[in-house]
C-alpha cells in the first residue's frame, strides 16, 4: 500500500515532466528550425518589448495576424515579452531569442546591436529613425491636484512626494530625467544648479521602482506619493482605468520620446523569419496600425492620423479621457534626444557609472 503510494507519486511526477517535455519539444522545434516556412504553416515570431506597450501590442498582434493571413496566407503567432527596457535589451543580448525588439529608446536597441545581433544602421531601416510612434513625459496627480503641481519646479518643493522609476534600469525614467534636466536648463540654470535641482527632485522620490509599470502600480494601486512622472500613454491609461481619481498635468516643457524598433537580424536569420519580422515592423506605419497606436495613447507618426487625435482643448490639466477620443495636447514644448547629443553621449554624461545620476545619490 505504502510502496504503491510512493511509486504513484514518482510516476505522476515523471509523467508530468514527460508531458511537459513533449510540449516543450514542439516549441523548440518551431524555434530552431532553419528552414524558411512554406505557405499554410504557422510562423512564430517573438517580440521583446518594454513595459507600457502590453496593451498596444496585444491589439496590434491581432491586427497584424489578420493582415498577414490575408496578404501571405500564413498564420503568425506572436509571443510577447515585457519588462524594463534596459533589462529586456540585456536579455536579448544574452541570448533571449527575439526576432524583433521594440524598446523604449534607441540606446537600448544599440546594446543589442553592440552584442553583434543587429546589423549597423538600424535607425534608418524604417522610417522616422525607426520610431513608428512617439510619446512624451507628463505628470499624473491625484484628483483635484491637492498639492498644486503644475510644472517641473513644483516637483522640488519639500512637501511633494514624487514617483519615478530608476533611470539606470528603466528607459522611461531616462526620458523623465532628461525632460526635467531640459526644464531647468530652460530656466537659465547653470549645470551645477541644474544638478542641484535634479538632486532635490530625486530627494523627493518616495519609491524608486525598476520599471515604469512598477512605478505606476506604486502610485495608483498603493497610493504612494503625490505625483507620478509618467509616459503620456501610461498616464492616459490610468485615467481610463480609474476615472475620476486622477488628473494629467501637462508641464510647460517635456521631451519627445522616440521608442525604437528593430529586426534582430542574427536571430531572424536563424529562425528564417527575416521577411515576416520586417513586415511586422513596417506594418506599424500603416494607417490601421497608426490608428491602434493612437487609440492606445501613443502619438502616431502619420500626420493625417495625428491630426485626427489633436485635442481642441489645450488646457494643461486633463481630468478625463476626452469623450471624442481627441487626446493629443499640443500645448507643450518638446525637446528631443539630439539636444543631449544623441543617446551615446546622453548615456555617458548622465547614466553611466559615476556620471551625473550617480553623483546626485552620493552622500
Amino acid at each position: 500500500m505504502k510502496k504503491r503510494l510512493l511509486s504513484l507519486i514518482l510516476i505522476t511526477a515523471l509523467g508530468a515532466a514527460v508531458i511537459g517535455c513533449g510540449n516543450n519539444e514542439n516549441v523548440a522545434a518551431g524555434d530552431n528550425s532553419e528552414v524558411p516556412k512554406s505557405a499554410g504553416e504557422k510562423i512564430e515570431l517573438t517580440n521583446v518589448s518594454y513595459d507600457p506597450t502590453r496593451e498596444l501590442y496585444a491589439a496590434y498582434n491581432e491586427l497584424f495576424k489578420a493582415h498577414y493571413e490575408e496578404e501571405f496566407g500564413q498564420t503568425v503567432e506572436v509571443t510577447q515579452s515585457h519588462g524594463g527596457s534596459g533589462k529586456q535589451a540585456l536579455e536579448v543580448a544574452n541570448g533571449l531569442e527575439a526576432d524583433v525588439v521594440t524598446l523604449a529608446l534607441e540606446g537600448d536597441v544599440q546594446v543589442v546591436a553592440d552584442a553583434g545581433l543587429i546589423d549597423d544602421g538600424f535607425t534608418s531601416e524604417f522610417e522616422l529613425d525607426s520610431s513608428p510612434y512617439t510619446s512624451t513625459i507628463v505628470f499624473l496627480v491625484r484628483s483635484g491636484n491637492p498639492k498644486k503641481i503644475y510644472d517641473w519646479n513644483d516637483l522640488i518643493r519639500e512637501d511633494v512626494g514624487v514617483i519615478t522609476p530608476n533611470p539606470k534600469t528603466s528607459g522611461g525614467a531616462m526620458w523623465n530625467y532628461l525632460a526635467a534636466w531640459y526644464y531647468f536648463e530652460q530656466q537659465g540654470q547653470s549645470e551645477a544648479e541644474i544638478l542641484d535641482s535634479i538632486k532635490q527632485l530625486y530627494a523627493n522620490v518616495v519609491v524608486l521602482d525598476s520599471g515604469a509599470r512598477g512605478a505606476t502600480t506604486s502610485f495608483v494601486e498603493n497610493k504612494q506619493g503625490d505625483v507620478l512622472i509618467a509616459w503620456e500613454n501610461e498616464a492616459f491609461l490610468s485615467l481610463a482605468e480609474y476615472p475620476g481619481e486622477y488628473e494629467i498635468v501637462v508641464p510647460s516643457v517635456s521631451i519627445l520620446c522616440q521608442p525604437t524598433v528593430a529586426v534582430v537580424d542574427e536571430v531572424a536569420k536563424k529562425h528564417g523569419t527575416e521577411d515576416v519580422a520586417k513586415e511586422y515592423l513596417s506594418y506599424l506605419y500603416s494607417d490601421e496600425a497608426q490608428q491602434i497606436e493612437a487609440e492606445n495613447y501613443y502619438r502616431p507618426s502619420t500626420k493625417a492620423i495625428y491630426d485626427k487625435y489633436v485635442s481642441s482643448n489645450d488646457s494643461n490639466t486633463i481630468t478625463e479621457v476626452p469623450a471624442d477620443g481627441k487626446w493629443i495636447n499640443n500645448n507643450i514644448a518638446l525637446t528631443d534626444i539630439n539636444h543631449f547629443g544623441g543617446w551615446a553621449k546622453a548615456r555617458a554624461d548622465h547614466f553611466a557609472d559615476g556620471a551625473n545620476f550617480d553623483s546626485i545619490y552620493e552622500q
Partner: protein, 276 residues
C-alpha cells in the same frame, strides 16, 4: 504536575501570542489574496484562472516542479547514502556545497546560469551549434528550480540514515546482498517517510520560486512564464483581480501540499510506533 498548574497563565499567554503572530503574518495575507481574487465575483475568478496563458503558466510550473523533484530525489538519495554510509576525505566540504544553494540569493542562482549558458559564455557557441537553448527557455527554468530546492531531500534523509547507522546494511552485505537489494530491502523502509516529506517540501518550494526564474526566464508569454512570473505580469498590467486569482491557484496548491505533509507525518509516526 505542579509544574503544569504553575504554567497555566504562561501557557495561554504563549498560545495567544502564537495565534496573533501567525494570524497577522500568515493568515491575513492568505485572506487578503482570496478576497481580492473574488473582488469581481465568481465568474470573473473563473475567467481569470481559465485564461489560456494562466493554464500554460501553470503547466510550465508543474513541469519544472516535477523535474526538480525527480532530479533532487535521485540526488538526495545518492548524496545522503554517500554521506552517511561511508567515511572519506572531503565529506565536510561536500556537505557544505550541498547546503550552499539554500543560502544563495535566488538572484545569484539565476545569474550564475546566465553567466554559464548565456551568449557571452564559452559554452554558448557549442550549445548553439546543437540548437540547445538553456537560458530563456524551459531547461534554464528547470535548472534554476532544481538549484533552489537542491538540498531539500538529502537534508531530510541524512538525519534518519545517521540515526539508523550502518549495521543493518553491513550485515546484509556480508550475507551477499547487492547494492540495490540492500537499498530496497534494508535502507528504503527506514527512509521512505523522510523521503516523502522531502519530496513535499521540494514540491512546495519549487512551485513558488520567483527570483531565480525571473532572472533567466525572458518572460516569454505562454512559453517561459511560470505561474509566479505570470502573476507579476498580471499585477503590473493593472489586472489585480487576475493576479490574485492566479495567486490563489498557488495558494490552493500550497495548502494541498501542506495537508499531504500532515498526512505523511501522521502515517510515518504511526508506523514508527508500530515498529517500536
Amino acid at each position: 504536575m505542579e509544574l503544569r498548574k504553575e504554567n497555566k497563565v504562561l501557557k495561554y499567554f504563549l498560545i495567544t501570542i502564537s495565534f496573533i503572530f501567525l494570524g497577522v503574518f500568515l493568515i491575513l495575507p492568505l485572506v487578503y489574496i482570496v478576497i481580492t481574487a473574488l473582488r469581481d465575483g465568481i465568474s470573473g475568478y473563473i475567467n481569470a484562472v481559465s485564461d489560456e496563458y494562466a493554464i500554460k503558466a501553470a503547466l510550465l510550473t508543474i513541469q519544472a516542479t516535477a523535474w526538480a523533484v525527480i532530479v533532487n530525489t535521485i540526488f538526495g538519495i545518492a548524496a545522503a547514502w554517500l554521506i552517511t554510509k561511508y567515511s572519506f576525505k572531503g565529506k565536510k566540504l561536500l556537505s557544505t556545497f550541498i547546503d550552499l544553494p539554500v543560502t544563495v540569493s535566488p538572484i545569484i542562482a539565476g545569474l550564475i546560469y546566465v553567466l554559464t549558458f548565456g551568449r557571452q559564455s564559452g559554452l554558448y557557441p557549442i550549445l548553439d551549434s546543437y540548437g540547445i537553448q538553456i537560458i530563456f527557455a524551459v531547461p534554464g527554468i528547470v535548472l534554476a528550480t532544481i538549484f533552489v530546492t537542491f538540498p531539500f531531500i538529502s537534508r531530510e534523509l541524512v538525519p534518519v540514515l545517521t540515526a539508523q547507522g550502518t549495521d543493518e546494511e553491513e550485515a546484509a552485505s556480508l550475507m551477499g546482498a547487492g547494492t540495490f537489494t540492500i537499498f530496497r530491502k534494508v535502507t528504503f523502509p527506514h527512509i521512505k517517510w523522510a523521503l516523502l516529506y522531502g519530496v513535499v517540501l521540494c514540491t512546495a518550494r519549487a512551485m513558488g520560486e520567483f527570483g531565480a526564474v525571473s532572472v533567466l526566464s525572458g518572460h516569454l508569454r505562454g512559453k517561459t512564464n511560470t505561474l509566479p512570473l505570470y502573476i507579476e505580469l498580471l499585477y503590473q498590467g493593472y489586472d489585480f483581480t487576475g493576479a490574485f486569482a492566479a495567486s490563489s491557484i498557488l495558494v490552493v496548491l500550497a495548502v494541498i501540499v501542506l495537508i499531504l505533509r500532515l498526512v505523511i507525518e501522521n502515517k510515518g509516526n504511526k508506523e514508527l510506533d508500530l515498529n517500536k
